[in-house]
């Protein structure tokens, strides 16, 4: 699609290009490329981000009071594109910085003053304290409690599927502050300080024998009243907004092979694997491989078409379509890789990278078909929000939460 650049925007383009040419030097680019830490952010990166924030390129659509320029989204996009063109990080955070956006939208003045800038500079590490063992699909069923005592809240409960909890400074926490109202109305949303005795983080071992997540045990943890976002009892709305930010930026979380052993280049992985295994000529496999590739390509076409079509508002529904499609794609890829390897898939380990990949991908597919809303929940969402089918009777929707039936 062709771009119609107005004069005002031309000035903007000139400015950002000018600034980048002066500041995004080869040396800095090199330095940032070198360092590649998983959770931690390097000093060099923080420094660069500092400059970007300073120059008001980080969140151009935000008000000037908050490091922004009050631009509209299209103008902000231009800046983002310029940064992307030269592969410079730090722009577009008004679109993709979940933490800062949530805080700006619902945080109290003091907390914003304290954390917005550091968040934009990635000086603060964050994590999500949403899911609980008893509240997975039914997130509003959380039982972690936050009881107000004077100028702070005392929090008790357990969270699960938290990534980055060990290194996080704050966690975006939903906890129940009122047990006498229906489940959606008694929840509050906090920035919970993680570096305190009341917070115990235990790594969670996945079926893939990795640990990318934690369980977080919260015992009499203290959260200043000033860290409440929105008002007490409006946590569900804050959460809904935060989840929307997440979705709008979340690409598919699917991971590729982990063996790291390269497969055929520029070729569909399943084709390359079948070729390598000398089984590419088998008609049964050819059909299954073609169909699996088709699922992937069709989902890409859908996403492309959806992106071209959609306005912010109904993005979630399309995301749901993509996520559901992706979980079939991933399970099929695992299944067919296993089939191609045959007896070889009985093995694993470094000496057997193909088996390692086939088995890992087969198990890790559940990360998508269960995580972030199971396929079954996704089908409900698609059926109800996209197709407009009626909801099921919700037995617990209007009960006071203390009367709601929960597991065990």
């Amino acid at each position: 699609m062709t771009e119609h650049v107005t004069v005002r925007e031309q000035d903007l383009l000139d400015e950002v290009r000018q600034w980048l040419s002066e500041n995004w030097t080869k040396e800095i680019a090199e330095e940032l490329r070198r360092e590649n830490v998983y959770w931690e952010t390097s000093a060099a990166r923080k420094a660069w981000l500092g400059n970007v924030v300073e120059a008001r390129w980080a969140v151009p659509s935000w008000p000037e009071a908050w490091h922004g320029r009050g631009l509209d989204n299209d103008q902000a996009k231009l800046i983002e594109r310029e940064f992307a063109r030269v592969k410079a990080p730090g722009a577009g955070q008004d679109r993709n910085n979940l933490w800062a956006n949530t805080l700006l939208a619902r945080g109290q003045e003091a907390l914003k003053q304290q954390l917005i800038a550091p968040l934009l500079r990635s000086e603060v590490n964050m994590c999500l304290l949403y899911s609980e063992p008893g509240a997975g699909s039914d997130l509003a069923g959380i039982r972690t409690r936050a009881d107000k005592e004077g100028d702070h809240y005392v929090v008790n409960g357990q969270k699960v599927w938290t990534s980055g909890a060990a290194t996080a400074d704050y966690g975006m926490l939903i906890a129940r502050t009122n047990w006498d109202v229906p489940k959606h109305q008694g929840i509050s949303f906090f920035f919970c300080p993680m570096k305190q005795p009341g917070i115990e983080v235990r790594p969670l071992r996945q079926i893939t024998n990795e640990s990318h997540f934690n369980e977080v045990f919260i015992t009499d943890a203290v959260v200043p009243a000033g860290n409440l976002l929105g008002s007490e009892g409006t946590g569900w709305q804050v959460l809904t907004m935060a989840l929307a930010y997440e979705r709008s930026t979340m690409g598919e979380a699917a991971r590729g092979p982990r063996s790291g052993v390269r497969e055929g280049k520029n070729e569909e992985p399943l084709l390359a694997l079948a070729r390598e295994a000398g089984r590419l000529e088998e008609p049964n496999l050819r059909q299954e491989i073609a169909q699996a590739i088709a699922y992937k390509r069709l989902n890409a076409l859908n996403t492309a078409r959806a992106k071209a079509e959609l306005t912010q508002g109904n993005s979630s529904s399309i995301m749901s379509l993509g996520k559901l499609a992706m979980s079939r794609i991933l399970h099929e890829e695992g299944r067919i890789r296993t089939k191609i390897l045959g007896a070889g898939s009985l093995l694993e380990g470094e000496a057997h990278p193909r088996a390692e990949d086939a088995n890992f991908l087969s198990l890790n597919a559940y990360f998508t078909s269960i995580g972030g809303g199971t396929d079954q929940i996704q089908r409900n969402i698609i059926g109800e929000r996209v197709l407009g089918l009626p909801k099921e009777p919700e037995v617990d929707k209007s009960l006071p939460f203390r009367d709601v039936r929960t597991s065990g």
Partner: protein, 376 residues
């Protein structure tokens, strides 16, 4: 409502075509009763509607303007076929306005084009192509007519089959084997030695016939490129048109099935509130949206002569065929008993879906082509 939010086209030109109410508006207006009447007739189409299609420019959609058509491309064709599929349109559109029109233009014999295309665009002349025999194999091996050159010109002998709407055709374009290669011919459907026999079809909205030729005098088309290349490109165009029809049909089935699930009440609840129905619908939406994407992408690739055309056309061919069959089949299950009755439209869509899935090769065939196009 819900589908519009997703179905609006991603390619500008196609958007234009769809915005043009004179096309989709009227096609969609064809009522089921009219379809049921038409499908019981021997010709399988209704002259009045055919004239309307001509007035709308549908019959001349892909015919170049210099030959009396509107000369737009596969993108617009695909968009129109989505509507045709949704409406179960009964007409020799695929036979004459797509296959015959495309084949003549691909073969590029100006004299023949000037003679036939304007009348085809105006709907006055219906043409159909004889490409395969009783084996229904759409590859060069499938060609089942032989051409021999006698002193007084070319003669055709053999038996063609699965010829779309041949029973209504004025002109047949016949692909035949010669000593050397393949050649294309035009034959008058009334020619001596030619006999056209209607084949009873499972899909009541479809018309097929066999064509027996015994030393039939035919005039050879002077092709500007190897004949089978022209046929291949024509089949690509036909597959894109069919894919559009299938994607449109599949979306339509899902739409009226979902509507029914919103109104049908059992055990005091709308059946659409049960996960059994709701989840089937959600899964179908993935398939129908994928079909729309595939058909439109293939059309765009053809329009741009993209090197992805083979890949995209094959993908659309099986993705749309399978999506339509699944949507039509699951749609009946979701309706329950009511859709087991002849009076309910569901089976008309299933019959059309099943037929489309076999018309130019089945999904396994297209999947195999797809893998080859991907380099596999």
């Amino acid at each position: 409502m819900w589908d519009k939010s997703l179905n609006t086209l991603s390619i500008e030109e196609a958007e234009e075509a769809l915005k043009d109410d004179t096309i989709d508006g009227r096609l969609m207006a064809v009522p089921e009763t009219a379809v049921r009447e038409t499908m019981e007739t021997s010709s399988g189409f209704e002259a009045g509607l055919w004239r309307q299609l001509a007035e709308m420019g549908v019959t001349g959609l892909i015919i170049e303007e210099k030959f009396g058509g509107s000369g737009v491309g596969p993108v617009e064709l695909e968009a129109v076929m989505e509507e045709a599929g949704a409406a179960l349109l009964c007409a020799p559109l695929l036979a004459s306005s797509v296959i015959a029109a495309s084949l003549l233009q691909q073969l590029g014999d100006v004299t023949v084009c000037e003679n036939l295309l304007p009348r085809m665009a105006s709907g006055d002349c219906i043409a159909s192509a004889v490409l395969t025999g009783d084996a229904g194999n759409w590859t060069p091996e499938g060609v089942s007519v032989e051409a021999t050159e006698a002193a007084d010109g070319w003669q055709l002998s053999g038996r063609g089959s699965y010829v779309l709407h041949a029973q209504s055709a004025d002109i047949l374009i016949v692909i035949a084997k010669t000593a050397a290669d393949f050649a294309a011919f035009t034959v008058d459907s009334k020619a001596a030695g030619l006999s056209i026999e209607a084949l009873p079809t499972f899909d009541k909205t479809l018309r097929l016939a066999s064509v027996d030729l015994e030393a039939v005098a035919a005039s050879r088309i002077d092709a500007v490129l190897p004949v089978w290349d022209a046929v291949k490109r024509t089949l690509d165009m036909a597959l894109v048109a069919l894919a559009g029809e299938q994607a449109g049909g599949a979306s339509k089935v899902l739409e009226f099935t979902v509507e029914y699930a919103k109104t049908r009440v059992q055990f005091g609840r709308q059946i659409g509130s049960y996960q059994a129905i709701k989840h089937m619908a959600a899964d179908l939406l993935v398939e129908t949206e994928s079909a729309l994407s595939a058909a439109r992408y293939a059309a765009a690739c053809l329009a741009e002569n993209s090197d992805k055309s083979d890949e995209a056309v094959s993908l659309a061919a099986f993705a749309c065929a399978d999506a339509y069959v699944k949507a039509a089949a699951d749609g009946i299950q979701m309706h329950g008993g009511i859709a087991f009755t002849w009076e309910h439209p569901a089976h008309l869509y299933l019959r059309r879906a099943r037929s489309g899935a076999q018309l130019f090769g089945d999904s396994d065939y297209h999947r195999e082509n797809y893998l080859q196009a991907l380099g596999g």
